[in-house]
């Protein structure tokens, strides 16, 4: 129906248009810096250069930047030049700056970055404490007449401070690989869940994720319901093992710093509005002074629940359905 309206509008409005080119001022290229500092992993940064909207070509990574990270307690880490590795998901090259330390919960960090030909940038963030996941339940229920797998994640919010959360769901299994007629080894494999919150008013996070603040449940134990139509398409499971492989649901609740929360929520909004000419423009938040991007803190808690295979739908790597949940 909305398509029809678009067509009608197009007919009326665009049908009479004349098109002319206009000039727009070129904008100075700036550094974009990303670093989401989590105590569970080594601090990593990525730096690229922005381009004016009318400039041609792909965005370029900055390989020779100098980064200095200062903790609130005066510990200084200096990083010079990026490493090179391939993005495990996309296969594209990644130029990362690895800090060689794991951030400490509750600690504040200031990140200074500079590169020849660009204005130096600075960003500050604080690493939040991990959240306590108290319970994870799974099952199936009817939603709008359709049988849906659900996951309830319960966690305790700290009422003393303002908290922001990212909730994500993924699936994992142990893929049996027959080495010889006797030996079978099990290799872990993680698949993605097409998950979304059961409360539609919470929609707006990214793919398989939910970004929320504790505004509605400050200081309380809170349960978030996620629905997921799940697949394990990245895991090559031989059909003879389909009834015997264990399937795990991995529930992650990441406590985000305010910077991270603002960045992710605005970024997902911009993505969601893409392609709709009537959508209000979305400005993506940045805490990088004189630049773009976000240096944010986060602390991830995860809980893994073993479920039966009939909770999920399993595809093999060719997207060929080998097992469908009820």
């Amino acid at each position: 129906m909305k398509k029809l309206l678009k067509i009608l509008l197009f007919t009326v409005v665009v049908g009479c248009q004349t098109v002319i080119e206009m000039d727009i001022d070129e904008t100075e290229s700036r550094l974009s810096v990303y670093g989401f500092l989590d105590p569970s992993s080594e601090a990593v940064f990525k730096i690229d250069a922005s381009k004016g909207i009318l400039e041609s070509g792909d965005l370029e990574s900055i390989h020779n930047a100098v980064i200095r990270v200062e903790s609130d307690h005066g510990v200084i880490y200096n990083l010079q030049g990026s490493t090179f590795e391939l993005d495990p998901k996309t296969g594209e090259p990644l130029y990362l700056y690895k800090a060689g330390f794991n951030p400490i919960p509750g600690e504040g960090y200031t990140v200074y970055a500079s590169a020849n030909g660009y204005e130096s940038v600075v960003a500050k963030t604080e690493i939040p404490q991990r959240v306590n996941i108290t319970r994870v339940d799974t099952g199936r229920r009817k939603i709008y007449g359709y049988d849906q797998a659900f996951l309830n994640i319960t966690f305790q919010d700290d009422g003393a401070i303002k908290n922001y959360y990212k909730v994500s769901v993924s699936l994992a299994t142990l893929v049996p690989i027959q080495i010889d007629s006797v030996t079978t080894v099990f290799e872990p494999c993680v698949g993605d869940a097409y998950a979304y919150p059961s409360d539609e008013s919470l929609l707006g996070g990214g793919y398989g994720q939910l970004i929320i603040s504790d505004e509605l449940f400050n200081g309380q134990e809170y349960t978030i319901g996620m629905l997921f139509s799940s697949v394990l398409d990245a895991c090559e499971i031989d059909s003879q093992y389909i009834d015997s492989v264990p399937v795990y649901v991995i529930a992650e609740v990441t406590n985000l710093s305010e910077d991270s929360y603002k960045f992710w929520s605005s970024y997902y909004k911009q993505l969601g509005a893409g392609g709709d000419p009537f959508a209000q423009p979305v400005q993506v938040y940045s805490n990088v002074e004189s630049g773009f991007g976000c240096v944010g803190g986060q602390a991830t808690s995860a809980d893994t629940v073993l479920v039966t295979t009939n909770l999920v739908t399993i595809y093999n790597y060719n997207d060929y359905l080998i097992y469908e949940g009820p």
């Binding site: 002319i20 727009i24 700036r30 922005s50 909207i53 041609s56 209000q280 991007g293």
Partner: protein, 790 residues
């Protein structure tokens, strides 16, 4: 107020002359005519129903009446008792005393009210317009303090306010969507209109419910004496108006209809187009409207009026196709889709002259705005294949319905006081979006359901009192209070709104004016497009969404120069709270769920200066209006909480309007407008998306929009001109109107967007980039219209 009035009530030797002021030929009431004693300069003016009341000391007088476009009328009266006397006035075309009329007209420097502009309907009829369709709202856009929206649209943005902050009254009934064809035409048919008044500030207490302006449009009543008609055939639409007495001098009627016909003309072509594709189909668009009014003079003291407006915009699309299913069966599919919206307003009014000093008006009104978008599909087998046939139907309906009643009194105890008071209630029913869905498959009963937002019911009530009082020879003050309340569900809001407007005469021709007005608005329009989409949604204040309110102060001078030119200069400062905007990323096409979750609440302020010089009568007439203004919005969750320019923040806005009577048979009119470009939000750069730590699969660029509305479109300017050629025929007068909109074909910006482009290099490589495209709607658009009057 009573202590002020009491001395006047106690003066025994004063008597009152009262009655109506009307056109001598048609009996049409003249609103705002001046009635005065030329010796003492004590006087009054006729109200919205043409009624006047003037109380003077006992004695003999020669009272005069004057009205723009009419010759002066004088009548002798011996005032030794309260008497009734009607003034019947003749148009200047009969008297040919144009300059005299100018000297006797109501003078702006003498009025206590400021920020008010009346446009004679004759002027509106002369001004060249888009495709020759006379348009009240587009004429109002040519006034200072009033900004148009995008190219061609009829939305009004008054002193930094939004399009929903204008109270559009047609015979006292609010009209919620005042535009046809996405805003390119307004719903008001000039043939049926008697008067138009725009109030931008210093609002009298009898108005309420909107923050930024009142557009008070009064329909004609119909000729009491003779049967007359008029009509026009234009490029876009044709219209016909008929009026005349039902019972001579007792009751009259007027009916006026208009319809576009491009759909009818294009229908054969469209059908042929579908035929070449092997299907039967038709598609088109039209709008039509109908104004009607009857009035009945029950006695010299009682009158009753019934007026109604109905308007409809309709997009339609029908497709029928038959194809073979197997050697013995055919399948027939039918698809229908449509988009329809329109207003219906009806007002029943009863006027009663209770005493010569007290006039009462009782009004009951109904106003409906409805938007429906629907689609149906039907698949049938012939002959019938069991279990094959299916149908599907979907409709989305939104709108607002109002029932209202009000009582208004005009009390005129002396020439120094004009008191108004009244009370009223509006019962709103909001339909913020209902989906009706039905389907059946294979002959089995399927789904037939209605879902969506529930209707919301609300009462909006008000009471007011005001007095237009003269204090000494130089000072005149209009002060009053407007109290209003709003109840919906468990939410209750109320507001006491003081209003004051005053003038101080420096000399006979020059006055200083000042005003303060506080306004409250309980209903809001959710709109996220730059054009007047019918999908715009009227919603009420709720526990989450508070009423909008504003405070406005204005200061100015008003002067009449050489009895010909009215000059006014006004400065204003207005603050607005609880304004609504869609959240970032929200869109009609993507938004779902509760509308309250889609909005942000913030504030705004606007200030500026307006310069206006107008010549209303004479062979050469017109005006120059210039506005210098700043309009800002601030929302906690938009633009990171920083203030940003409103989309229609327009630093400079200039309009020049000229009408010239070349001869009795030919007149010419031209308008030129200039406005600073609209403020828009555009991406100015792009940077990498956050894929470094595999938080997301998205690897598209992030767009940096800079500050909200920080980019300015190119300035808007346009020249329109037109000639009217009149000729008296034996039984009628005909007029050919020819002219052009956007005469020098300026490519004015309508909207901007980025388009991807690929640059190919000589070595076989290529690079992708973007270019900014400006879309302009209308180059020069000539028009020709044939109209007639009999």
């Amino acid at each position: 107020m009573l202590t002020t009035l009491l001395p006047h009530l106690l003066i025994a030797q004063n008597f009152t002359v009262s009655g109506f002021v009307e056109d001598v030929k048609s009996g049409e009431k003249l609103i705002g005519a001046n009635i005065y004693d030329p010796v003492t300069y004590k006087g009054t003016s006729s109200n919205a129903y043409g009624f006047y009341s003037l109380t003077l000391p006992k004695g003999d007088y020669e009272l005069r009446a004057s009205f723009v476009g009419y010759g002066e009328s004088s009548m002798k009266v011996s005032l030794n008792a309260n008497i009734t006397m009607d003034f019947k006035m003749s148009g200047v075309s009969e008297l040919q005393e144009v300059e005299i009329v100018a000297s006797q007209s109501k003078k702006i420097q003498e009025e206590s009210q400021m920020s008010v502009i009346e446009i004679p309907i004759q002027t509106i009829e002369k001004i060249p317009t888009f495709l020759g369709e006379r348009d009240v709202l587009k004429t109002l856009q040519l006034l200072p303090g009033v900004q148009s929206g995008s190219e061609g649209t009829s939305g009004l943005y008054v002193r930094g306010g939004g399009p929903d902050q204008n109270l559009m009254l047609l015979d006292g009934v609010p009209v919620y969507n005042a535009s046809h064809l996405f805003g390119f035409f307004s719903v008001f048919n000039t043939d049926a209109i008697n008067s138009v008044e725009l109030i931008k500030g210093g609002f009298p207490a009898h108005y309420g419910g909107r923050l930024s302006s009142v557009v008070d449009i009064r329909m004609k009543e119909g000729n009491m004496n003779d049967f007359h008609g008029s009509g026009a055939v234009g490029i876009v639409a044709s219209k016909l108006t008929l009026e005349g007495p039902i019972v001579k001098d007792k009751a009259s009627f007027i009916i006026s209809g208009r319809r576009t016909y491009i759909d009818l003309l294009a229908r054969p072509l469209i059908k042929y187009g579908f035929k070449t594709e092997g299907v039967d189909g038709v598609a088109g668009y039209y709008f039509s409207d109908l104004n009607g009014k009857v009035n009945w003079k029950i006695s010299s003291k009682d009158r009753i009026y019934l007026s109604s407006y109905w308007g409809d915009d309709n997009f339609y699309f029908k497709l029928q196709e038959t194809y073979p299913y197997d050697p013995s069966h055919d399948i027939e599919t039918k698809t229908k889709a449509g988009l329809r919206w329109g207003n219906l307003t009806t007002a029943l009014r009863y006027n009663r002259i209770i005493t010569s000093k007290l006039f009462a008006n009782f009004t009951a009104t109904y106003s409906q705005y409805r938007f429906v978008i629907g689609q149906s599909d039907e698949t049938k087998s012939k002959p019938k294949i069991p279990g094959y046939d299916q149908d599907f139907e979907f409709e989305y309906i939104s709108g607002i319905n109002d029932w209202s009643g009000r009582v208004d009194f005009d009390y005129l105890p002396s020439p120094n006081h004009a008191v108004k008071f009244g009370v009223g209630d509006i019962y709103h029913t909001f339909v913020p979006g209902v989906n009706v869905f039905s389907s059946s498959f294979g002959g089995a009963a399927g789904v037939d359901t209605t879902f969506g937002a529930d209707p919301i019911f609300a009462h909006e009530f008000f009471t007011y009192a005001e007095d237009d009082v003269k204090i000494g020879a130089r000072l005149k003050v209009n002060f009053g209070l407007h109290y209003s309340g709003f109840v919906t569900g468990k939410s209750y809001y109320q507001s006491l709104q003081p209003r004051v407007s005053s003038r101080f005469l420096i000399n006979e021709n020059l006055s200083i004016k000042a005003s303060y007005a506080q306004m409250q608005q309980y209903i809001h329009l959710l709109t996220n497009a730059t054009i007047g989409l019918p999908t715009d949604l009227w919603v009420p204040s709720t526990s989450k969404v508070k009423p909008e309110d504003s405070r406005q102060v204005a200061l100015g001078i008003a002067q009449t120069v050489r009895n010909k030119y009215e000059i006014s200069v006004e400065g204003y400062y207005k603050t607005m709270d609880n304004l609504l905007e869609y959240k970032e990323g929200a869109s009609y096409f993507s938004s779902g769920g509760n509308w309250e979750d889609q909005i942000e609440i913030g504030r705004g302020w606007s200030y500026g200066a307006e310069f206006f010089v107008q010549k209303k009568v004479g062979k050469t007439a017109g005006w120059i209006g210039y506005t210098l203004s700043w309009t800002t919005r601030q929302f906690e969750n938009l633009n990171f909480g920083k203030p940003f320019p409103y989309r229609y923040d327009r630093r400079h806005d200039l309009s020049i309007v000229l009408t010239q009577e070349i001869s009795k048979k030919v007149d010419f009119a031209a308008t030129w407008v200039y406005g600073t470009g609209n403020a828009v939000t555009l991406p100015i750069s792009r940077y990498a998306a956050p894929d470094a730590n595999a938080f997301s699969y998205y690897s598209s660029d992030v767009y940096n929009y800079g500050d909200r509305n920080s980019y300015r479109m190119a300035a808007y300017h346009r020249l329109d001109f037109g000639f009217n050629f009149h000729k008296e025929k034996k039984r009628y007068t005909r007029t050919w109107s020819v002219g052009a909109y956007n005469a020098y074909s300026r490519k004015n910006p309508f909207y901007l967007y980025f388009q991807d482009k690929t640059v190919f290099y000589g070595n076989g490589t290529s690079e992708n980039s973007k270019e900014l495209i400006q879309v302009s709607l209308f180059p020069i658009v000539p028009y020709v219209t044939y109209s007639f009057k009999f």
